[in-house]
Symmetry: D2
Subunit: 119 residues, 4 copies
């Protein structure tokens, strides 16, 4: 699968086919998919929990590979959830960035790690 038009769209279709072949739809309620997604997000975090921030910026190759697969797991559930709920992921992400630009205006947010309601 090395087409130059590879995209979330193709991944979405491949995942729908994968689950249908295995008759997994009954288990794939949005509630369950959201649970599975958060479990994968925690498996991703687990790779970093005892590392310092500096160590996390310089991962050895094998660790980076394991982390890449956890990130893939998160994306796979995110895409399946977007199918189940008929949510356009990229469109939602773009709209959220517009909101974030208002919540974190450059002049007030620069260099700050403070949450928007305390800016």
């Amino acid at each position: 699968m090395t087409h130059s038009t590879d995209s979330l769209q193709q991944l979405t279709q491949a995942l729908a086919h994968f689950a249908a072949e295995r008759h997994w739809q009954p288990f794939h309620s949005p509630k369950n998919l959201a649970s599975a997604l958060s479990v994968e997000a925690a498996e991703l975090l687990e790779h970093f929990q005892w590392l310092t921030e500096d160590q996390s910026r310089a991962l050895p190759a094998d660790k980076k590979e394991a982390v890449a697969f956890e990130m893939a797991d998160v994306l796979l559930y995110l895409v399946q959830l977007s199918s189940a709920l008929e949510v356009d992921l990229l469109e939602a992400a773009r709209r959220k960035m517009v909101l974030n630009a208002k919540k974190y205006p450059v002049d007030r947010a620069r260099g700050s790690n403070v949450k928007y309601d305390e800016l």
Copy 2:
């Protein structure tokens, strides 16, 4: 932003610019981004925690909108983490799907919610 070539690529660049404008790179260690991602995954899950599976399959419009924004938040951190670690998200997802096909062969996994090490 309604080009037919909209993709993760453009989102990645927009996010890099957003963070650079705000001088947020010092806070964006992979360790911190992984934490933020799991926090957003939990905010997504929170919308479903008291719903039944059937209710989760029939979300009212306002709830679906809120959920779409949480999914966007997860994607935004996933993309920022992929930049920080130089991980190709779609490529990792495709490779993971190949692995998953081996872990869950159709004949053995059909109709089953059992984890691969117990199949």
Copy 3:
């Protein structure tokens, strides 16, 4: 350890000794302990992610045992975090219950799964 005065107190001391013996204090910043706690909470959730709510109310004995150990893991990190931050867990829990009683008055909250800011 089967004294009738067994309590969180004794667990707290046993954990402090366990970590000190292994020179783990440098890794046990509150930031890291909070990460580890959320990772364990997700491992607990993983046991339920594909089960229905009814199945979760009738766990087979081996599954219940595995779940008990995940709950233990969560408690162990919660206690270590309370030591690191000098937080009295039971006292905080009691104060939080007083707050919860105000957020969810019986007459308005009865039979409802709605969050307090929407009651």
Copy 4:
């Protein structure tokens, strides 16, 4: 509630009463309680996500208070889940510590942040 015999036991009873008064038992399947617990664990983690480890070791008083309440939330759901599943939390924690002592023998685990299967 300031008895010197305050314990998890009393908290357990108080929580059972609180939920019964509000007719919340239908929502409190173990599956849902485990979800709620992981959501609270993430709210706890959120307080630390942009802090450095050193900053997390020196929290200002107001931040420490907010964190104490999140820890309380985690404990409250952990206790409710232990009631729902009839799991003795302290006993499970003690048994898990015995297992952990075997997984992380002092001589091999000292000063190491490596997971037991890589020790």
